[in-house]
Symmetry: C2
Subunit: 377 residues, 2 copies
């Protein structure tokens, strides 16, 4: 009855976990939600200044003033771009959908980290991707593996990655850019966590170092402002902007104009940066509370790195254990965690867990980690 | 470099026309914009009542209260449905994109009217559709042609169609429903113009008469409230809701929550119906002004029907004429029109024009039609 691609729509495991996690009384480290208590909420003043023309159809590419602001910020990160290369999207997920439509068809080789963002895997898989993974170390993907990948597209989350929290070193970014330049691969750098950095500015984007390769860079306002705004942006190499714009038009004509008008205001008057500066201490403190709890309860049972940004801890259990079963036991006990295997482009056995530290309260973090410690062998 | 489907992204003719149409001083009958002067604009009171939780991630399916309101209204149209079958989308265009992903792959036979909504054709074509058209008369598609179509999906706009303005008779709707029931075809009824009806309520949806066939029904708030809200909805047969929801999740996680909160309020307190009642007289008057101008200037040069709803007149020129050239001449003279051929699923020669009557002022309508009359042979 359906198109064949529907058979590739992945199982509802993650949806099931997140549904269970939202039950009252469950402590959830499973999702990737920002801290609700410090989300941006548009003030009556901001809402009172919405332009009168936003209720009519708008431009597919996005509001010109917003595209200009995005380009200004991107240039400050070292990305050589103009506002004409900016495409406003309905959240990062739509950006991935558009890139997938542009680049991926049955059998297209897509280079990804392993593990990587699961919702990107879903979309690439839906369009027929064949995933190629490369060796990596604590600085990121290894440059020598890029040539071997023989892929059309590389999808990378090099800054406070979801799920691992890894942030590539500056040296590795430059080396990788060189490796990509030597290939005809398009580089898609997904960068939603950059501003949630606890130890000063993150290294500049990989694509800012490219000299030959075509690229797509993606940012989001979901983590810095509010997910409910559903607003992100793509900045794309000049060779790709026309096709991307047509794909956006075919997808939903244009993005929501209320959200665009609100975010434009916040960028123009500096409120975004102020908001991020205001929320960072809470994120850092939540990370530190989870780190202290992990040290107390899981030191002998798991290993992990301290994330210097983003929303997640990534644990590797020291003793082999069925993490799916552990997840079920934890749920029964009132704790939701996300098995690391959900993030595998190519399934392989591992005893890993992703823990979100941003959405729970301090008390929930302490209780939940203590409970997790008691459940792990 | 790209996926093969990108070769099927249709040319930018329509974009070019609409871009030219937006130049200052150009009278535009080319687009499909609602009347800007009576668009819904959220009041400070409405914006002041936004729930506090809308800034966080929301549910893929949409806000529960909005889905409930949509289902209530659909049942009043005769559609047997529950809120659980409602999927809130980022405007109708996204609904078409999702249905296309669900149903259409390389070579999938899709039954459509001819002409039909061009942006739907774009999306179906992108996913690989093979268009099958059926014979029709002034009451709509002929039921006997449905069986011959041998299609997986039928896409219909039976109520004040874009571009023709045609509204299927009640009898034809029932006969077609019977024909679809005899096939295993999924029926996708796109119904954005229903509420813009100038002569009382439109006949009930085709899918409300189905007994066997699976179906998808689509509505929009772009024409009744405001396109900038980017909000529409799908109501789908129970067999399709799970896959559709996963496709929506993969497309953009969920729709904008500000817009959803605003529209929920308007549906709950009856403001939507009041707003539609308020704007209908203006739409009717604009239609009547264009009709009078057409009668004055084009009676001997074209034939057309008086649309009883929607946004468009559909003209067939009496003398063969190159409409693309006419369109260029009109643009040079400061008037934008849309060649009917843009709406052909399968290209064929025709001397047809779509004229939008909702977006221009009375004076622009009169001047533009007089100008058009002077340009047509």
């Amino acid at each position: 009855m359906f198109a064949a691609r529907i058979d590739r729509l992945t199982s509802s495991l993650v949806r099931d976990i997140l549904a269970a996690a939202s039950r009252p009384g469950v402590i959830s480290f499973a999702g990737g939600l920002p801290a609700s208590e410090v989300l941006f909420r548009a003030s009556p003043q901001v809402l009172g200044q919405l332009p009168d023309d936003i209720w009519q159809y708008g431009q597919t590419e996005g509001e010109p003033a917003l595209r200009e602001q995005v380009a200004i910020r991107a240039r400050a990160l070292g990305i050589d771009c103009k506002a004409g290369q900016v495409l406003i999207v309905n959240g990062s997920q739509q950006g991935i959908d558009l890139v997938s439509k542009l680049m991926v068809e049955e059998g297209t080789r897509v280079l990804t980290e392993s593990p990587t963002y699961l919702a990107a895997l879903q979309v690439f898989r839906l369009m027929g991707a064949h995933f190629v993974t490369a060796a990596q170390d604590e600085e990121g993907l290894l440059p020598q593996s890029v040539a071997e990948a023989d892929a059309r597209l590389a999808y990378l989350v090099p800054t406070f990655q979801n799920p691992t929290g890894l942030c590539y070193s500056q040296a590795r970014r430059k080396a990788l850019a060189g490796a990509f330049d030597a290939q005809s691969m398009v580089v898609f750098e997904d960068d939603p966590y950059r501003d949630l950095s606890f130890d000063g500015p993150a290294p500049s984007p990989i694509i800012s170092h490219l000299k030959q390769a075509r690229w797509i860079y993606q940012g989001s306002f979901s983590k810095t402002l509010a997910p409910g705004l559903r607003l992100g942006y793509l900045i794309v190499h000049p060779d790709l902007i026309q096709a991307m714009t047509r794909l956006k038009q075919a997808a939903d004509l244009h993005s929501n104009r209320l959200s665009q008008a609100i975010v434009t205001q916040l960028l123009q008057d500096g409120s975004l940066d102020q908001h991020v500066a205001n929320i960072l201490p809470l994120y850092r403190e939540k990370r530190d509370v989870m780190q202290a709890a992990l040290l107390q309860h899981l030191s002998d049972k798991a290993s992990w790195g301290l994330p210097s940004g983003g929303l997640f801890f990534w644990l590797t259990l020291k003793n082999e254990q069925d993490v799916m079963q552990l997840m079920q036991e934890a749920l029964t006990a009132g704790l939701a965690i996300m098995p690391g295997s959900a993030f595998d482009p190519v399934p392989h056995p591992s005893s890993t867990i992703r823990l979100n530290f941003s959405h729970s309260s301090f008390e929930q973090i302490q209780q939940g980690i203590a409970l997790l410690g008691s459940l792990i062998k």
